[in-house]
């Protein structure tokens, strides 16, 4: 099945209620046995004694959506999944808010878990998205991924 590129970007934080609703929608698919979810939350890191207040995300959106489509296709080809959902925030996300939501489902847990982990790793390594850490004193620093 050919899948069309989907928008993954949400302006602002990802609401916990949105995640709950997304989970609820899967109750009609009774072929699913396990869901794996990863959530990235903005951490109030302390760097040089100053706390991170927020991260402002920007992206090369068109390229990121093409790349995400490619990742999604590769993950579907590799694992027997029923579905993958990915959402990434853009704009200013304050510490404690959720900025990444990756959600995979499959008949048996192993596929969902492995696919979720691999999708998260690929998103961090391959999507043209940048985070600018904004400190409490309004100084800034560009985030670097491990």
């Amino acid at each position: 099945m050919e899948r069309k590129p989907k928008n993954i970007f949400i302006l602002g934080p990802i609401a916990a209620s949105f995640i709950g609703e997304s989970i609820a929608k899967h109750s009609t698919n009774t072929a699913i046995g396990g869901h794996s979810i990863f959530l990235g939350q903005v951490r109030a890191d302390i760097i040089n004694e100053i706390k991170v207040a927020a991260i402002e995300y920007t992206a090369y959106e068109e390229m990121a959506l093409e790349k995400m489509h490619e990742i999604r296709e590769a993950i579907f080809a590799k694992y027997p999944l029923t579905c993958i959902h990915v959402y990434h925030s853009l704009g200013k996300i304050v510490a404690g808010e959720i900025c990444l939501f990756v959600f995979t489902s499959s008949a048996h847990r192993k596929a969902a878990i492995d696919a979720c982990n691999e999708t998260v790793e690929r998103i961090k390594a391959e999507l043209p998205v940048w985070g600018k850490e904004i400190f409490l004193d309004e100084s800034i620093q560009w985030k670097t991924n491990k």
Binding site: G40, Y57, T58, Y60, C99, P128, W130, W142, T144
Partner: protein, 76 residues
């Protein structure tokens, strides 16, 4: 021949978010021209995408191609 350049992340603080450059044959020439105009660029790591695809070898540029300068990704 007009090439559109879009710049992201920390690099946009050095180069601005958009540039248009004329008469550039390929990505290597483009990088040389940019490094000459913005010597600070030497302090930054980045990769290049041509029409939304990352390129790792010298790539010929044509009219209205879009080149993106991408510093290390830090999404998620």
């Amino acid at each position: 021949m007009k090439i559109n350049i879009i710049i992201f992340g920390q690099l946009s603080e050095v180069l601005g978010e958009n540039l248009v450059i004329d008469n550039i044959a390929d990505t290597e020439s483009l990088q040389q021209a940019l490094h000459k105009k913005f010597p600070e660029l030497a302090n930054y790591k980045y990769v290049i995408a041509v029409n939304k695809k990352q390129v790792t070898v010298n790539t010929v540029l044509k009219e209205d191609y879009t080149v993106a300068l991408l510093p290390p990704f830090s999404g998620g």
